[in-house]
């Protein structure tokens, strides 16, 4: 550790330069900027899909800022909440704009994050050495879901109220502790003022704090190992004379102006929604939510907001008939693991024990379908975390995978969108069967990935990134 040394500037040096020097001697401001962005070298072949990281950051800031202003006028009180939102919409100067930005921002956040994750999936961004980036990102996704869920209760409309009621009741499906657990979460026998107050606390402070920490970790990890790219080539393996990767460019100014353009396009679309279709046909703001929450009136059709419906569909697809299919699937998968997997015997035995317990638990008279619905609902989210270890493909990017892999990925996209759509609709016999097929496909995609991802003829990955000068 060197002794402290004050940087000396000539007497006629600009004041700003002196001030920066003074700060840099005491805090690594310039270093931080250069490491994280200014001289952070990123591959030059980023395409359209690489815009969503910075857009997610923008929307996060937008949500925090608009959220702070909403908190100034919102009343977290079951008797006042609904009216206070209308107060914001009418009496608070520009309140309607801030509220619409916040409600539209919530949906925009999920659209962006889903596209950001799609990018990761397509180009293998989660592969070694970026596993931790993916895990931090996964944790951010969980926080975002919690944040959205807690926040959705706050307007205290019918959909807020009954959506929260349904989701909290899901915990009641857990054997033994379930009913007490959901009572503990609600703080009352039904969703009530106590629930609203704690959800408010989680929404405005607890979750955002964790979220910000995770975002910082996500970015630090990314800037430590460096960004991947659409070719899935490690650009750091090919350094130029200046010590920087030959296929990389400094983020500033190149990706600064690039992201600025992306931001301008995004904000144009965002403004179009905020100013001309803030309800977005009942998807961003549900019509039923303009009725105050009423514990005595159950709406005929309760659906979570659109960004949860894919996972919610998995829950609904888990009917008692479907448990037989799942049992067969689990048994088949375990047998397959013994025959084909390179995993150690201990792991195989552990998996077999879990599989056996699950099958026994699914037998008639054991745990009911609702419980298993909750398990698979959770599982459909959690399984994403394991991607870095499930993907065994010799190449990272979809560009150099066998062509038929693209259909496998397209199938996942179709299954996810189908689940998402069906989750917004009231249940129907045909819809349930489609959701069950999509659920099977969704889980098979991930659970069988260690095998299918290394099958087929892979294309040769070039030494340099594919880049066409503009």
């Amino acid at each position: 550790m060197a002794a402290f040394k004050e940087t000396k500037f000539p007497a006629d040096a600009p004041a700003a330069q002196k001030a920066l020097g003074w700060v840099d001697d005491r805090f690594p401001l310039t270093k931080l900027w250069n490491d994280q962005w200014g001289k952070y070298y990123a591959p030059k072949n980023f395409n359209f899909w690489y815009i969503f990281g910075s857009l997610a950051m923008l929307v996060l800031v937008l949500q925090i800022v608009t959220g702070i202003f909403l908190t100034m006028h919102y009343k977290p009180d079951a008797g006042l909440a609904f009216a206070s939102v209308e107060y914001i919409m009418r009496e608070v100067p520009w309140g309607w704009l801030v509220r619409y930005m916040h409600s539209t921002g919530a949906s925009a956040f999920f659209i962006i994050v889903y596209l950001h994750m799609t990018r990761g999936l397509m180009y293998g961004s989660y592969r070694k050495p970026r596993e931790l980036i993916w895990l931090f990102g996964f944790a951010i996704f969980l926080c975002l879901m919690a944040e959205a869920f807690f926040g959705y209760l706050l307007p205290w409309g019918q959909m807020s109220y009954w959506g929260a009621q349904v989701i909290v009741n899901l915990f009641g499906a857990i054997p033994l502790i379930g009913p007490d657990l959901s009572l503990w979460i609600r703080g009352d026998y039904v969703v009530s003022d106590a629930t609203l107050n704690r959800f408010f606390a989680f929404h405005v402070i607890a979750i955002p704090l964790v979220l910000l920490g995770l975002v910082a970790a996500h970015l630090i990890a990314l800037h430590e190992v460096g960004s991947s790219n659409p070719d899935g080539i490690e650009v750091k393996e090919n350094l130029g004379a200046d010590g920087h990767p030959v296929d990389s460019i400094p983020s500033h100014p190149y990706y600064t102006v690039h992201d600025l353009f992306g931001v301008s396009v995004f904000l144009t679309i965002f403004s179009a929604v905020v100013f001309f279709a803030p309800e977005m046909g009942g998807y961003f703001l549900e019509y039923n939510n303009f009725l105050p929450g009423d514990s005595m009136k159950t709406p005929p059709h309760i659906a979570p907001t659109w960004y949860f419906t894919a996972f919610y569909s998995v829950l609904r697809a888990t009917t008692s008939d479907f448990l037989w299919v799942l049992m067969a699937g689990i048994a088949g998968y375990t047998a397959f693991l013994w025959l084909k997997s390179k995993l150690s015997g201990m792991v195989k035995i552990a998996v077999s024990v879990i599989a056996l317990l699950m099958i026994v638990g699914m037998l008639p008279g054991a745990l009911d379908a609702k419980f298993w619905g909750v398990v698979f609902f959770g599982g459909s989210v959690v399984i994403l975390a394991f991607l870095p270890w499930l993907d065994h493909s010799p190449v990272k990017s979809i560009r150099y995978r066998p062509d038929w892999h693209k259909y496998v990925y397209a199938g996942l996209a179709i299954a996810f969108v189908a689940l998402g759509y069906l989750g917004t609709q009231p249940p129907s016999p045909v819809g349930t069967i489609i959701a069950q097929i999509a659920t099977l496909y969704y889980f098979s995609f991930f659970l069988l990935m260690p095998w299918w991802s290394e099958m087929g003829t892979f294309k040769k990955v070039p030494d340099r990134v594919v880049f066409h000068a503009h």
Binding site: K44, A83, E86, Y87, M89, R90, E91, W96, L97, Y100, I249, P253, Y254, V257, H258, L260, F261, V263, S264, V265, L267, T268, S271, A272, V274, F275, F276, P278, E279, G281, G282, Y287, N288, F290, L291, P292, P300, A469, H470
Partner: protein
């Protein structure tokens, strides 16, 4: 009672098509009043005269009606009846407890009802416009009226003096779902007693009320759209500049 049960059964069987609603009655399209100040003012007058006797619009301040081109003086002289101040909220003098006894339910707050009644296939205005025009005589109901859109509505036909009394005609037809079974099918209204308004006048008046309710559900809506045009113009200029700025930097990346 039996009749209304039959009616309910009938309504449940009407296929839920595009313009269908909970009652199954096809909704009429409400005329657009959003740019017609005179109509909105008339709607406000009718709303204050008829609806506010029982309903609240507790998020709506009387003096916000200035947005509809009324002066504070006009609001005070024409729309305030029970000594409210012009800066007060539109609340009813009827206690909720009494309402519960008289109607079996507390009349809903109407501040945002036009937004709440929208569905993906119809606007809230369509619902309200059809609802207020399809009350018909039904001696089995405590109010003496029933409604096509909201069967067994608890609300009395408050506008009956204006519309007059109409009866609903039903005819027996073959059940489309069950062969050999007859069901009642709605076959139009029949005027029993004349109101103070003609049918056309009444439809216009209801359209004005509903137009006002649509406005009241989001008083900032017009301003939002006007501002939106400017924001989008600005954003497209900004996006164009950002696009060219980006291109000029990336030109040098080989």
């Amino acid at each position: 009672m039996i009749f209304s049960k039959k009616l309910l059964a009938l309504l449940a069987l009407v296929p839920a098509l595009a313009f269908a609603n909970e009652g199954g009655y096809p909704l009429d399209k409400a005329p657009d009043r959003s740019h017609n100040m005179a109509a909105l003012q008339n709607g406000a007058k009718l709303f204050v005269n008829y609806c506010l006797n029982c309903h609240n619009a507790s998020s709506m301040r009387y003096n916000r009606l200035r947005d509809l081109g009324l002066t504070e003086e006009q609001i005070k002289n024409n729309l305030l009846f029970t000594g409210e101040k012009v800066g007060e909220m539109m609340t009813t003098a009827m206690p909720a407890k009494d309402a519960k006894v008289w109607f079996g339910t507390v009349p809903p707050d109407l501040s945002v009802i036009a937004r709440a009644k929208a569905t993906p296939s119809n606007s809230g205005s369509d619902y309200l416009y059809t609802y207020l025009r399809t009350f018909y005589k039904d001696e089995n109901r405590p109010t003496g009226f029933n409604n096509m859109v909201l069967p067994n509505a608890a609300m009395p036909h408050v506008l009956w003096e204006l519309q007059g009394v109409q009866a609903a005609k039903f005819e027996e037809v073959e059940d489309p779902h069950e062969h050999g079974k007859k069901v009642h099918k709605f076959a139009g209204f029949e005027q029993v007693t004349k109101g103070t308004m003609t049918k056309l006048e009444y439809d216009t008046a209801v359209a004005d009320i509903v137009g006002y309710m649509e406005w009241m559900a989001e008083p900032a809506a017009q301003k939002r759209k006007q501002l939106g045009v400017w924001v989008l113009i600005f954003m497209s200029i900004f996006a164009t500049l950002a696009w060219r700025l980006n291109a000029s930097y990336w030109k040098e990346v080989k």
